[in-house]
Every structure is written in structure tokens, then in C-alpha cells.
């Protein structure tokens, strides 16, 4: 079902968290609300499910205006960060709880619980209590409970935050599988860009209660609208270098390195102070526009190695290399920047 937030405003007391936000979620789409803590992503989620009352604007499920509809009557499924399973009920009772409240018959509830349990692979756990489950199993139960009454929208509030690293990887693909199998419209709230990029059709990146950019993960990575978005996506993160555009090239002041820019950008912004963003994979030995600096940090990540290269004025460039070079910390190196892939931002951080 299509979800539409129209000039949605939410404030707590005199503090306005979200001011006139517009967001359209397509039917069957999984969208991520990505942002740091306090950006309003959870507030948005809680407003969609009706736990928070809206202070202005409208929320539409399909064509139905649910702005003033209570959460009990909205037909949403929510997976909470803490899973929020009822500790005194068995897994079966937990999953069947929404149906029990709707006074469905026992055999009917049983049938639906069995069906959904099979889908999330917890058939053998039905008689246990939440206290007897591992984190991943609790997560599956929470998912099953959220999905059992076929909600209009599935809301996931940091669903993977309480799991360890391996489980997180497993549940990432599980949640995506289940979402695709059911074809349900889903909203994932997360601060983890990897989760957002790997699980969702589109990402809405939020900052200070506003959506900064909303697009597909790959597009957002390649074409961020601002330095904030560019800095949020990608691990290890993008490096920013300040300089000036002069004669069709970007000039790095401390080394006087000149990096060629696209003709259109260079011509329109000649003489302007800017900063460029260079992702670690586009700063490599051997090719591109050479720039020299000193290795200040080396971190082995197994398959790849991350190098920090400090320029004379203290600016740090990052390079991620799949083959380990013999360089050590303190070595002077001269590696190349792939000029085709640099991102140019003005001094306010807006992409040029």
C-alpha cells in the first residue's frame, strides 16, 4: 500500500522535531529512513504507526487519511528495536496476539500462526517463552507478530541494533527475503548505512527533521546532493579536500596538486573556493592525478587494507586497497586520484 506523508509536522512541547516533511513510499517498496541519532527518523516511524500524535499535515495509507486514526485501527506491523515481545506469553501467543484481539477463532489463529512461523522458520519454537529464545529467534518472532495480520505497512525500528555481527548479516537478508515474499510496503529506520543500502529499494536520508535526499542506494552513493549525504554513505568514509578552482582545475593549496575537473563545472565556478570529496576506492597507487603525502595510519580489514594519507596541511585522504602494499606508517607516498570520480561541493556543502 502506498504511504504518503504530506507536510507532516511533529513537535514535542515547544520543540519541533519535524517540520512539514513530505515523503511518498510506493506500494511494495522497502524504504530506509537513514540518519544519525536525533534526526527524527524514529519519530517519523512512530507517527506513521500512530504511537505519536501528528501536530500538522496528513498521513495517508493508500487513499485513506489516517492522520487522526489511533494506532489500534491503523493496521500497521511494527518490529521494535528491543523486539517488545510479551514475556509472559509463549511464542505462539505472542504471534497470535493481534488476531486474538480481533476475536478471531482459535483454529483460525492457529492456522495463521503456523503459516507465518513456517515463513520465518520458527516452527519448533512455538511453545517457548521469549526468555528462552536467542536474539535472532526473538527477532523472527517479532517479525512474525508484525506480519500476521497482513498489515498495510511494516515498520522496522532499528531491528538489527540488538543483534551480534553474524546474526545481523543473516537477519538482513532474512528480513529482505520476507519483505519481498510478502510484497509488503516496509519502512526501515536505521543509523547504519550498510543496512540501509543492502536491504532497501530506496533510502531517505534525514538530517535535523528533514529529508535531505531520497533515491536508490547506488544513485545516492554516486550522486549525493550534499557533503552530508556523501559523508554518511560509504565505509570507510569519503575524504574531503579544500581548495580553489582555477583554470579548469582544482588546486590543492598545500601540495599545489592540480586535479582536472569536468569542463562544465570548471567553467561555471572558476576562481571559487570549493571542497572535493574523494572516496577511498578512487585514491590508489599507480594511476590518476598523483598527490603525495605521508601515511599516518594503516588498518588491516582482512581482504582489504585502509590507509590514511596526511597532506602537508593536515588534510587526510583515505585509500582502500585490496592488495597490501609494503608501505609503513610514516612513509612518503605518491598515489593517484581518479579525477573522473571526484565530487565537488561548494563551501556550504551543496553539490556543484
Amino acid at each position: 500500500m502506498r504511504i504518503l506523508l504530506d507536510k507532516f509536522t511533529k513537535s514535542f512541547g515547544s520543540l519541533t522535531i519535524i517540520d512539514e516533511m513530505d515523503l511518498e513510499i510506493h506500494d511494495g517498496e522497502m524504504i530506509a529512513l537513514l540518519g544519525g541519532s536525533g534526526c527524527g527518523k524514529s519519530t517519523t516511524l512512530f507517527s506513521i504507526c500512530g504511537i505519536h500524535k501528528v501536530n500538522g499535515g496528513r498521513i495517508l495509507f493508500g487513499d485513506r487519511d489516517v492522520t487522526n486514526v489511533t494506532s489500534q485501527e491503523r493496521n500497521v506491523g511494527v518490529v521494535f528495536q528491543s523486539f517488545a515481545l510479551y514475556p509472559h506469553m509463549t511464542v505462539e501467543q505472542n504471534i497470535g496476539f493481534p488476531l486474538k484481539l480481533r476475536k478471531e477463532t482459535k483454529p483460525e489463529i492457529k492456522r495463521k500462526v503456523d503459516e507465518i512461523a513456517a515463513m520465518v522458520h520458527i516452527e519448533e519454537l512455538l511453545q517457548r517463552r521469549p526468555g528462552e529464545l536467542s536474539g535472532g529467534q526473538q527477532q523472527r518472532v517479532a517479525l512474525a507478530r508484525a506480519l500476521i495480520r497482513r498489515p498495510d505497512v511494516l515498520l522496522l525500528d532499528e531491528p538489527l541494533a540488538n543483534l551480534d555481527a553474524t546474526l545481523r548479516l543473516e537477519m538482513r537478508s532474512e528480513i529482505r527475503r520476507i519483505q519481498q515474499e510478502t510484497g509488503i510496503t516496509a519502512v526501515l529506520v536505521t543509523h547504519d548505512q550498510v543496512e540501509a543500502m543492502s536491504m532497501c529499494d530506496r533510502i531517505a536520508i534525514m538530517d535535523k527533521g528533514q529529508i535531505v535526499q531520497i533515491t536508490e542506494p547506488r544513485d545516492m552513493y554516486d550522486n549525493p546532493v550534499s557533503d552530508f549525504v556523501a559523508g554518511f554513505l560509504g565505509s570507510p568514509p569519503i575524504a574531503f579536500v579544500k581548495g580553489r578552482i582555477s583554470g579548469g582545475k582544482f588546486v590543492e593549496p598545500s601540495t599545489a596538486t592540480k586535479i582536472p575537473l569536468g569542463a562544465k563545472i570548471a567553467k561555471a565556478n572558476d576562481g571559487r573556493e570549493v571542497k572535493i570529496g574523494i572516496r577511498p576506492e578512487y585514491f590508489q597507487p599507480g594511476s590518476g592525478t598523483m598527490i603525495s603525502g605521508k601515511i599516518s595510519f594503516i588498518e588491516s580489514q582482512g581482504r582489504e587494507t585502509l590507509y590514511n594519507v596526511t597532506l602537508p596541511d593536515g588534510t587526510i585522504l583515505r585509500s582502500i586497497q585490496s592488495r597490501r602494499s609494503p608501505s609503513k606508517i610514516g612513509d612518503e607516498v605518491e598515489w593517484g586520484i581518479n579525477a573522473d570520480q571526484i565530487l565537488v561541493f561548494d563551501q556550504d556543502g551543496v553539490r556543484i
Binding site: F46, C49, G50, I51, T70, S71, Q72, E73, R74, V76, G77, V78, F80, Q81, S82, A84, L85, Y86, P87, H88, M89, F97, P98, L101, R102, G131, E132, L133, S134, R145, R149
Partner: protein, 463 residues
């Protein structure tokens, strides 16, 4: 396990070889263990003196017939109307009883001496001794006839009476420290007892307490007992269900759904009766209910005659008793339940909301199941406290009207410690309180079973 003495020689040796001088900290810790015991000792003494000893003594006293009449120390042996009654009824010794309670007048040395000291005529006394020594008379008139027959008889009737009064002999109402003393006195009195009579007299003449199970028999026989028991159960469970848990739950749940400010205000209001001195608190209820009190004044224009509403009828008395206790008692449950509800993760309320639960369903499916442990605690605690506390009833109705609100604990108190006639039945009271203890323990065990205590406190199977 090896006792230190049975530890093999080599073990001791290797131990002592391995054990080097422990660092200072360890010595300190070893000492502090004993220090703890010493610090606890005063508490132990108090617990023994003011808790264990009374409990044990109550248990023991329950099996005695101690009362004001018997005293709590050992008794004496005494012939009296009280002791003769069982001698007649239980042993059929009517004749013996008659003889024991009779007065006899015997002319003896002690009497003569006493007559002299009382200021009797010396010549007459001397002559009386010479002529009538060791003679007995059934009546005083006999002694006086004898005195009048003397040549040196006193001239006035008063003079005769001074002398005659000194020869009255009786074993009635004389305390003897031992049974032997009593028997000697009786034989001196001139009554010979056979073996059965000696035995019977030993039983009936003893004024001290004895061990007996009579208290429990009496308890079963008296119709008052079952009435008091029914009163107690009614009082405890009605107050408990309506107020101490019921109303406490209502208060804590309604304040949970209120904004924080008003919620705190309401909780404080309901705490006020708890911090009011009980005597003043009950006094206010009495003012409310008196025939010149608030209720009467307000209701009179509506055609209700002024009366003491509290003691007007048993139903009224119970209503007041339960209100008085319940309004004080609800506050504790309210506090415990409120904090327990606060401890429920907020996400469970959110989850149940989006699952479609309305307020009622939230209370029933989320709050109440999570409150099982506090409800069990409050139920047990308040049952025991209601069973044993009677101060509000004592102050409000004192068990009235006509014993209608007399509960077990109050009845125990009245029997053992505060009787109008001043005849306090310590033994019977102790037996009553022993039964109360047994009721309390049984009820607690039933609760633990009902609430499935073992499962409630079982540790989770995995973290």
C-alpha cells in the same frame, strides 16, 4: 566431607607447607567475618527476646489454663468455694466438702495466747485453759457457754466475745504453699482423708495453672468461635479484594494512564490516611458517623433520623470497618503496583497498541500478567497484616454492635489482655493466637500454590 580431625596426616602437612603467610587483606577479611557476627549479636538478642521467645511462650501458654485467677507463676493450695464446687460435682464428695468448709471452735494454746493478746480477761483465760483445753465446739455459742460457766467469767458480753473469737478454726481461704502443708492442716483440723479424697483434693485445691488441652476443646464448643472465624474471613477477604489489592490496582492503573503531574497528586492524596495517626484517623470517622455527626446532620433533612451510623446495625458497622481499613490499606498496594507498572518496558505498551489492544485489553493482557509477583506479595502481606491487626476495629467499634465485628485477633486481645471483668484468660488467648498463626501460615501456603510461586521465581532458562 572430611572433618578436620579425620584429615590424613599428609594432607595437613602439605596444606601447611603450601600455605604461606597470607597477605594482610586476607587476615582482615577473616576477622571481619567474626566482627560481623559480633555486630549482629545485639540484633540476635532482640530477635530472641521480642520475637522468638514470645512466639515460643505463646505456643506453650496455649496449652495451659493460665488466667488472672491462676497467676503466671506457680500457684498455692486452698480450700475455697471455687475449689469445693468441682469436688462436689466432679468427685461427688459432698460430705467432705461440707466438713472442709465448716468452722470449728477448739480451745487450744494458740487460741488462749491470742485471747490474752487481744486483751481478754487473764483469769478467765487461764481457767478456760485448765477446764476445756482441747475441747471442740461446732458453734461459737458453745465456746461462749463454756466461758460463761467459768467462775472467773468476764462480766460483760464484750469481754466474752473477745475471748471466744480467738478459737475459731477453719481451713477455708488459707493459702498453703504445698499439698503436704494443706494435708497436715486438714488432719490437724480433724478430718481424716482416704487415698481417693487426698488425690481429689490435690486436684481441686490447686490454684495455679496446669497444662491442659481444654482451651482447644472450649474453642470448638463455644458458638462464639465459629462466628468470630466467619467475621475474620469476611473482614480479611472483603477488605483485601475490594481495597488492598482491588482498589490499589485501580489506583495504580488509572494513575499510570494519567499525565505525570495529576498522577503524582492523586497518589499523594491516597497516601495521606497512611500518615495520619490511627487514633485521629478513626476519630474522624467517628465524628462522621456519630448521631450528632456529619452524616446525621446531612441526612436529617432528607428524613433519616439522626443515629450513630457506625454502630446502628452490623451491616453499617462492617461497611465502616472495611472502609476505614481499606482506605488506609490501599496505599501500600498502590505504591508497589505503580512502581511495578513503571518497570514494564514502554515498548510493550507501544507494541500492544499497534497490535490493536485498547486500554482494557492492555490492562488485562499486558499489565496484570506482569503484576503477578507484586500482586502475590501484596495479597500475602496484607492478608497476614489484616489477620493480625485489629487496632482500627478496636478504636472504631470495639467489636460491636454486640460482637458483630469481633474478629479473631480482637477476640484474642479481649480474652487475654483486656476483659471488662478483669478476669484475663492468658492461656485461652494464647491458644486463640496459636490458631491465628496456623491460619496465617496455611493461607500463605495456599497463595503460593495458587500463584504458582516456583514458576514465578524460576530463573530464565537462557540469558
Amino acid at each position: 566431607m572430611l572433618k578436620p580431625s579425620s584429615r590424613p596426616h599428609w594432607a595437613t602437612k602439605s596444606l601447611s607447607a603450601d600455605t604461606k603467610t597470607p597477605p594482610e587483606g586476607e587476615i582482615e577479611m577473616g576477622n571481619s567475618k567474626h566482627l560481623g557476627l559480633w555486630l549482629l549479636a545485639p540484633a540476635g538478642v532482640f530477635v530472641f527476646l521480642f520475637f522468638l521467645a514470645p512466639v515460643i511462650l505463646t505456643g506453650v501458654f496455649g496449652f495451659t489454663n493460665m488466667s488472672t485467677a491462676t497467676g503466671i507463676t506457680g500457684g498455692a493450695y486452698m480450700i475455697s468455694d471455687t475449689s469445693m464446687r468441682p469436688l462436689r460435682s466432679r468427685y461427688g464428695e459432698n460430705e467432705l466438702a461440707d466438713r472442709l468448709t465448716q468452722k470449728v471452735y477448739t480451745i487450744d494454746d494458740a487460741g488462749l495466747k491470742a485471747a490474752l493478746e487481744a486483751g481478754g480477761d487473764a483469769a478467765a483465760i487461764a481457767e478456760l485453759g485448765d477446764k476445756f483445753l482441747d475441747q471442740s465446739f461446732d458453734r461459737r455459742r458453745g465456746v461462749e457457754t463454756a466461758i460463761k460457766s467459768l467462775s472467773a467469767r468476764p462480766s460483760t458480753t464484750r469481754g466474752i466475745k473477745i475471748i471466744s473469737a480467738q478459737f475459731e478454726r477453719s481451713v477455708v481461704n488459707v493459702r498453703f504453699d504445698s499439698k503436704e502443708d494443706l494435708l497436715v492442716a486438714i488432719s490437724d483440723f480433724g478430718i481424716a482423708l482416704n487415698e481417693g479424697q487426698t488425690e481429689a483434693l490435690g486436684q481441686v485445691a490447686y490454684t495455679g495453672w496446669t497444662f491442659t488441652t481444654q482451651n482447644f476443646k472450649t474453642m470448638i464448643e463455644l458458638p462464639d468461635t465459629s462466628k468470630t472465624l466467619i467475621n475474620t474471613l469476611f473482614y480479611v477477604f472483603t477488605t483485601l479484594i475490594l481495597f488492598n489489592t482491588g482498589f490499589a490496582l485501580v489506583l495504580s492503573i488509572t494513575t499510570h494512564y494519567m499525565p505525570a503531574g495529576p498522577a503524582g497528586f492523586f497518589r499523594s492524596i491516597w497516601l495521606l490516611p497512611r500518615v495520619t495517626p490511627p487514633v485521629l484517623y478513626v476519630l474522624m470517622w467517628k465524628w462522621l458517623a456519630w448521631d450528632t455527626g456529619f452524616l446525621s446532620v446531612v441526612l436529617e433533612p432528607m428524613g433519616f433520623a439522626p443515629r450513630n451510623w457506625m454502630l446502628d446495625s452490623p451491616a453499617n458497622a462492617w461497611t465502616f470497618i472495611i472502609l476505614i481499613n481499606g482506605i488506609v490499606g490501599a496505599s501500600m498496594g498502590m505504591l508497589i503496583f505503580s512502581s511495578a507498572i513503571k518497570a514494564i518496558p514502554q515498548s510493550l505498551f507501544h507494541a500492544s497498541e499497534v497490535d490493536g489492544a485498547n486500554r482494557g485489553q492492555q490492562v488485562w493482557h499486558i499489565i496484570l500478567p506482569q503484576l503477578r509477583w507484586p500482586i502475590l506479595f501484596i495479597t500475602i502481606y496484607q492478608t497476614l497484616s489484616l489477620l493480625t491487626s485489629f487496632e482500627y476495629i478496636l478504636l472504631a467499634t470495639d467489636g460491636g454492635p454486640g460482637g458483630a465485628t469481633e474478629v479473631w485477633a480482637l477476640s484474642t486481645y479481649l480474652k487475654a489482655l483486656s476483659n471488662y471483668g478483669g478476669a484475663l484468660q492468658y492461656g485461652y488467648g494464647a491458644a486463640l493466637s496459636l490458631v491465628l498463626v496456623i491460619i496465617g501460615i496455611s493461607v500463605s501456603l495456599i497463595y503460593l500454590k495458587l500463584f504458582d510461586f516456583k514458576n514465578l521465581t524460576a530463573p530464565p532458562k537462557i540469558e
